[in-house]
Symmetry: C2
Subunit: 145 residues, 2 copies
Amino acid sequence: MILEKKKAFNAFAAAKGLRSTRQRDIILDFFLSTRQHVSVEELYLKIKASHPGIGHATVYRTLKLFTEAGLAREILLNDGQTRYEHVSAGEHHDHLVCTGCNAIIEFEDETIEKLQKEIALLHGFMIKSHKLELYGLCAACRANQ
Amino acid sequence: MILEKKKAFNAFAAAKGLRSTRQRDIILDFFLSTRQHVSVEELYLKIKASHPGIGHATVYRTLKLFTEAGLAREILLNDGQTRYEHVSAGEHHDHLVCTGCNAIIEFEDETIEKLQKEIALLHGFMIKSHKLELYGLCAACRANQ
DNA sequence: CATATATTTGAAATTGAAAATCAAGAACAT
DNA sequence: ATGTTCTTGATTTTCAATTTCAAATATATG
Ligand SMILES: [Mn+2]
Ligand SMILES: [Mn+2]
Ligand SMILES: [Zn+2]
Ligand SMILES: [Zn+2]
């Protein structure tokens, strides 16, 4: 699975005429071995520990490349930090975001997805993407109130 | 309707022990007479034309006050500009956002709202707010492609 | 292998929105 | 009127993200 994603990125890079660099390999390794919804700064710091030479700009640039390659998705929550999550082909989900502990829970709802398409149709809109986030308190944080 | 909102803000200000200032009156007038989904910068520039003395900081602060007072709602789309829209009591809607012409179309869908509550319940989550945005091309922009 | 060329990197500077600072000005209770 | 407290707005600061550009590196070619 990790290997497949590496292959997918190599294919993308080859098709785009991008060069193969040590930095992109390292950043991809770290991204693929990191839990979901990692912020750029988090990933940068994790990488820096063992590869102090790698710079901020490269991490930012490379995550944008992963997004373009279809390996990653940008998530903009309401805290001013861009996060990235792993993309698996054909899969889509939305997010419950806990404002207490910052946990992010994923969910899928086919009915909501279908209703969104109907709304778009009704307005003559062609949807390219959507964002559905439910903000609140997770079970654990509710218990601690 | 505009008068009611002014009264509502005055009540809020009184309850909070806020002073009545010329600036807040002006900003409220402009906000209430502006179309939906205005960005802070847009509103600031509009006000500045006839009231050059009013500063950025005051516009930012005052829109936050309106939000607290329940007259306005912050909207964070994906362009790094905070927008504010009018809030009418008991009303809620979500947004279709055209990435071609930046138009914002409002919609309501009771079924989606209900499904969101069910999802939250299923995960033991207590929802405080949510965000649903459909990004794509509006009918006009599709025609111009 | 050498060498030319084009891409990539990373430190540093820049950007842009938003928030913080703080002295001067304004509102309000007395 | 006067003193106290709040508010304002020019300016500075913050912070994520992007841009810049000289040096480093990848790769194509002989
Ligand atoms: Mn996710
Ligand atoms: Mn709206
Ligand atoms: Zn939580
Ligand atoms: Zn449009």
